[in-house]
């Protein structure tokens, strides 16, 4: 058991926990920040994606002791009111079905756009390939990222 200091969504937290505990379970079981989801425990599905100093990381693969002073942002801290452009785009494109993976998808997309404000379809596919969506909403994810980037480029696949 160790006492570990964390900065999560701009608030300081102190947790008493085994140092090898993944950040995922600290967020979910100790701090009640349940928007970050468990999907695989092996960094394969991306449902647990959070930001460490703005970088997208898999919180199931991030031991809580390895974080140090880095700032953690979870889905709950992305915006207070769904106003982040990625959240707005996700609503506009009606991306979620079951919604379980979407917090991770949104965190990956927000990190992508912070670095690459106008990604191409290929750049989106590369950046988002680590995030599984079993409901298969990939085409909407692509469209929503383009929308959030302010791009007028039409992603393929629409129909009438």
């Amino acid at each position: 058991m160790s006492s570990i200091q964390l900065v999560i969504n701009n608030s300081p937290h102190e947790v008493e926990i085994a140092p090898d505990t993944p950040l995922l379970w600290v967020l979910r079981d100790k701090l009640n920040l349940t928007g970050t989801k468990y999907g695989c425990g092996m960094g394969l599905c991306g449902a647990c994606t959070v930001h460490l100093d703005g970088e997208a990381v898999r919180s199931c693969q991030t031991a809580v002791s390895s974080i140090g002073a880095k700032k953690i942002t979870t889905i709950e801290g992305l915006s207070p009111d769904n106003s982040h452009p990625v959240q707005q785009a996700w609503i506009a494109e009606q991306v979620p079905q079951c919604g379980y993976c979407q917090c991770g998808q949104i965190m990956s997309a927000a990190a992508l756009l912070a670095k690459t404000p106008h990604p191409t379809d290929d750049e989106i596919d590369t950046a988002m390939a680590g995030n599984l969506c079993r409901c298969g909403m990939y085409q909407r994810i692509r469209r929503a990222i383009h929308r959030a980037s302010g791009s007028t480029a039409q992603a393929k696949g629409q129909g009438a």
Partner: protein, 729 residues
Amino acid sequence: MTMNRRSFVVGGAVAGAGLVIGLQLSGPFLLGQENERAPKRPDPNPFDAWIHVKPSGQISLIVAKSEMGQGIKTGLAMILAEEAAVDFNSVSVEQAETRPDIYPHMGTGGSGSTQENFMPLRRAGATVRELMITAAAAKWDVPKAECAAKKGTVVHAKSSHTATYGELVEAAAKLPLPDPAKVPLKDEEDFEIIGHPTPRVDVPAKVNGSAKFGIDVRVPEMLFAVVARCPTFGGRAIRFDAAKAKAVLGVRDVFEILTLGADKFTAGGIVVVADSTWSAMKGREALDITWDHGTSASESSDAVREALRAVAHKPGTRVRNDGNVDAVLSNGAKKIDVMYELPYLAHATMEPMNITVHARGSEAEVWAPTQSPDWVQRTVANVLGLKDEKVIVHTTYMGGGFGRRYMADYPAEAAQIAKVVGKPVQLVWSREDDMTHDFYRPMSCHRMQGAIGKDGHPTAWFHTLASTSIKGYWEPKVAAAEDESGGAKQMPYVIPNVRLEYNPAPSAVPRAWWRSVENSSNGFVVESFIDELAVAAGQDPFEFRKSLLVKPPNWRAKDEDDVDPARLRAVLELAAGKAGWGKPLEKGRGRGIASYCSFGSYFAEVAEVTVTGSDFKIDRIVAAVDCGQIVNPESVRSQTEGAIIYGLSAALKNEITIKNGAVEQTNFNAYDPLRISEAPPIEVYLTKSKEDPGGMGEPALPPAAPAVANAIFAACGQRLRKLPFQLKS
């Protein structure tokens, strides 16, 4: 039996003043007002949903339909709002609690929610509108016919009187209910909500982490549990040493639960209870367990496949027999005799199985991400030795259902654990647990024989379907032939000699319903083999199908699964047209088509692929949909896209294999659903229709795999008869 308000208020289902109407969504339509004696029928409570018009004018629909991403909370509200003549935003759909006396039918599955509830909800909404108009006409002493309702307000144009539903509800509640069969329904042409794209009500909470899934349930003092289950189906622990597990920080208790028979099918195992999920998982890793691997320890999917292939060559139970297949196959001009093979598949919902149970002695409370809250209730009550009504189940959002969340295995385990723990306990399945202890889509082999006559017309179709089957697991003594034959029996192409026979093969692997169920297998086989016949006949696969979809002049559906050839043909033509069927493609590229009807909806899909050596890429999917009257086009599109991707994951990548009685794939590294980089653009084209609504959760799936297989054949000449696809270089 009397439906009275007191039972609601006690149940917490409906509280406060206003108008309350009970309605029956399943079975023959009935309406009744509270305090009214329900018509005599065997079911003591015919009503399974309730409408509450509040003094504010807001309307609640309290119904036991689980939201798993299909948008049902939005769709049902749209139907009710349309006929009640209120704004969409005035209706909210609330999740019913498990009160068998109030909600006797609670399941969500089989793509049924819109199909079954469309007309009952329209009539119920129209009843609300009618009552409000009647109340207003009486209040103003004017003829009813001169009053009209719109946006939650009744207007008498001549006198300029207006009154909101909120103002009228007290008077309306005292009126007798009109005969539901005679309440005027809106003309479809006048729909202002139904058929118009409507944003889903559950979406905003799903983009900020506030949507609560089963695994997000947090109750004061709750503990977390995981179970170490024998990897082999039917195995059990002989002995275990908990010392090291108990030494793990946070672990509270370690104990054994036994396997449960009947319809629960739990594996049993060693439970680790801890103060966090992670501690419970770490504790489980530290367990030392000796397993008895049971009688199925030598089972392998290779051996099951051999058994299926063998029985596919034997005469079986005849499900369909038109003409004389034998005579044609013994002297047909051109014959084909091939085998199609489909593996076991896991559901792999993004949210692994989990459930929270608090057993409090004489009662219990459950928080469950489930498609069948009443089954969860019965199961938990049974394990805890309680009466059903002493168990209340709160249905949460669920991270995918696909049929997996119909099962009661994890609720049974959690009840066993909760009984020991005494405190609220959340049972969490790891991804490994979820993948290795699923109820899998059955494995099947299909021997297909066909013949083409001298004139190029198909003369025989002989399908021998061999499956491990679902029934073979649940009710081994009951014949599975009919259940496994959906879509194969209804093979819609006009061929004079058709036979379908069924043979089972045994397996210890648990099986159950996987999205679109047997249609996921039979659709691939039927729509690939008709393509093979087209090629053998030297005809274009689209034109060939079209020529065989003939609607006789006096055609009427024999049963609800009967396929209307004209509707299937129409979507085929729509998809082909939108995809540019017939336009030449460069070398290495190909187009394939498949059409299929299931769950009352008609789909045709065209795939375009590029083949390079043993690799291929799907460039585009064009889907045409006729699901009858569309409620929310937004949901129809979304479900079409999603079901196609789900089907393509199975076509391209996924397979559950068994070795030494256990599942070999344990996580997404070995059972990897389609990713964004592999997902083709999907174009969806909707048909305007006044037919009754069909289902939408599943029917886009079956044509996806055969459309791609047929496209690959068109591109490179390789016929893929085994899932997942593997091209030879």
